[in-house]
């Protein structure tokens, strides 16, 4: 989540600080220029690199991806460029595959459980850090470290910590009289293992966003509440939770969209195995295309497009919610 989470912050702060009617002065509002004036062409000129970039490096790869999914691309056809058109056959194959049910269920578990824990722990920490105690700034900054590390670094560290024979986790469990757990190599625990690592990775993102959300709740509210004799618990449920609702919703939705895309962590720790036991849709797509000796791009592209559709549905939900708040 290193990459994904940061751009989310930019977006969230952009959304929160964006054009709300009250904030900027009237001189900052848009003034429509009549079309065809030199001004318009200048604007297009400055945006031209981006427009060209989006067309060549976003639209074209996506188009190629759709094309891959509706053709039967064997390795040979891939190099020669003469695949057979197969329509939605590849999609049907994906849906009928034995791995599909497992991958769908794993994806649901992976995203929902990861996000639930990331959010709960992130919120608890944000509330904890809201009180300005000694060193709180430094400690809060240190919490960001997992977020900054390259994913391969965190994932391989976790893989070694969860190693069956030499891992520190099993060593602690055995010291307390427990039995050795084959975290990454047993089908029963592989998914749990990658979820644990992913929760750890996502806590900083949740902490940062929820903390900045808490900063926007006026402290007078808490002061008034404690004057009225409200307990800390009452303050949390009656003030923090309701006033944090918009920020929470955005955090959860972005978390969902970004967890859906996760490949690296799972791939590095378990490669989706053993068998299909920790296979998610994104990892499945990666495995079909690049993970085995024999690349199978057409089904991989079909799975990828399915992922885009799921992400977009929730993305639109996010945009609608954001728009709703900007209006209110």
């Amino acid at each position: 989540m290193t990459t994904t989470s940061v751009d989310a912050t930019g977006r969230v702060s952009g959304g929160a600080a964006g054009p709300s009617p009250a904030a900027p002065g009237p001189d900052r509002r848009r003034r429509r220029k009549p079309p065809g004036t030199p001004q318009t062409w200048t604007a297009i000129g400055f945006a031209a690199p981006l427009l060209a970039y989006l067309a060549v490096f976003y639209a074209y790869p996506l188009w190629r991806n759709i094309e891959l999914s509706v053709h039967d691309y064997t390795v040979r056809a891939f190099v020669l460029g003469n695949p057979e058109f197969s329509g939605f056959e590849k999609y049907a194959e994906v849906f009928a595959s034995d791995s599909f049910g497992t991958a769908l269920l794993n994806t649901a578990l992976f995203t929902v459980v990861s996000i639930a824990f990331q959010y709960a722990i992130g919120l608890a920490l944000a509330v904890f850090f809201r009180a300005n105690f000694r060193l709180s700034g430094v400690l809060r900054a240190l919490f960001l470290v997992p977020w900054l590390l390259p994913l391969i670094v965190s994932a391989s560290t976790w893989a070694w910590m969860l190693n069956s024979e030499n891992g520190i986790v099993n060593s602690v469990i055995e010291a307390f009289g427990g039995e050795q757990i084959n975290w990454l190599t047993s089908p029963d625990t592989a998914l749990t293992s990658v979820i644990i690592a992913n929760i750890w990775l996502g806590i900083p993102f949740n902490l940062v966003i929820l903390y900045s959300g808490l900063q926007q709740i006026p402290s007078e509210m808490y002061e008034a509440a404690s004057l009225d004799g409200a307990s800390a618990r009452q303050q949390f449920w009656r003030i923090t939770v309701p006033l944090l609702r918009p920020v929470s919703a955005i955090t959860l939705l972005l978390g969902f969209i970004y967890t859906l895309k996760v490949v690296d962590v799972v791939w590095i720790m378990t490669t989706g195995g053993p068998g299909d036991s920790s296979l998610t849709l994104a990892v499945w797509s990666y495995r079909e295309a690049f993970g085995t000796g024999q690349p199978d791009f057409s089904p991989a592209a079909a799975i990828g497009n399915l992922l885009i559709v799921i992400a977009l549905v929730f993305g639109f939900l996010h945009l609608r919610m954001q728009r709703g708040w900007e209006k209110s």
Partner: protein, 271 residues
């Protein structure tokens, strides 16, 4: 709400220690003797530290560190060159259809990297761009460009109109206004965008493992990955490489943190 109590600090330190334990463990293992790695009870502290892991890491991974540096810097340059003028067009020149473009950029950020990787692979196979540094720079930049444009747009929209008008009255054209007024004011945004563009390119695994997996130039993330595949006994060397790969992120953030913090809030007038 200022509590000056130590118990909370102690609790905070405990939470932090718990959270950062994997990072500590990475450093600890990187300093462990090879012979001690396979002991049934791992050593909690590097009582007998060795640098053999680091020696192995440096001797084998130096070229890939160089590759990652070049890819990261290239990605920064490409991202800023595209995002800064686009932000100017959207925020100050009021590009027509700007709302739709903003929307497209949001959608772009939702596309899974694995999908982009397949698309790029299909294109690069034909163009012979697989395993090339420019090819990887372009692919990695797709992570940062939408973010960069949105960040520049948000910041530039807050630049006081008076500055732009003053520049126009002085006879500066849009290009001069952009380079002499808007860009210098947006310095902090440029730093933020550059910082993240570099970090994302440096940390990228998916594009590296699909578009540059068998070339001469392998970025550091892939170096670690191949390391894991090749010699699973030398975890001290793997963890040492991991520590080295984490350094730029740590350094950049410590050094540039104040710019990031100052970035969005500091206005031109105060400068």
């Amino acid at each position: 709400m200022r509590t000056r109590s130590w118990p909370k600090t102690v609790l905070g330190v405990v939470f932090c220690a718990f959270m950062l334990f994997p990072v500590y463990w990475m450093v600890n293992v990187s300093l462990t003797q090879t012979g001690d790695l396979r002991r049934s009870t791992p050593q909690w502290f590097p009582t007998d530290p060795t640098l053999e892991g680091y020696r192995a890491a440096i001797s084998q991974q130096l070229p890939s560190l160089g590759t990652s540096l070049v890819v990261g810097l290239g990605c920064v340059a490409l991202t800023v060159v595209i995002a800064a003028p686009a932000g100017y067009a959207l925020a100050i020149l009021h590009l027509r259809g700007g709302k739709a473009l903003n929307f497209l950029l949001l959608v772009a950020q939702m596309i899974p990297a694995v999908v982009m990787a397949m698309g790029f692979y299909a294109i690069y196979v034909r163009l012979g761009l697989l395993n090339s540094v420019p090819g990887l720079i372009v692919a990695d930049s797709t992570i940062a460009v939408p973010f960069g444009v949105l960040l520049y747009t948000t910041f530039m929209a807050g630049i006081p109109r008076e500055l732009i008008h003053a520049s126009r009255i002085d006879g500066a054209g849009p290009w001069r206004t952009f380079t002499k007024v808007v860009l210098p004011i947006s310095r902090n945004s440029t730093l933020t965008v550059s910082l993240f563009a570099f970090l994302w390119a440096w940390s990228d695994f998916i594009f590296a493992s699909t578009l540059a997996r068998s070339g001469e130039f392998v970025p550091i993330t892939l170096g670690i990955y191949q390391y894991i595949g090749n010699n699973t006994t030398q975890w001290n060397a793997i963890m040492a490489t991991a520590v080295v790969a984490s350094l730029p992120a740590a350094i950049l953030l410590v050094v540039a943190q104040r710019y990031v913090a100052a970035g969005v809030t500091a206005g031109a007038v105060k400068d």
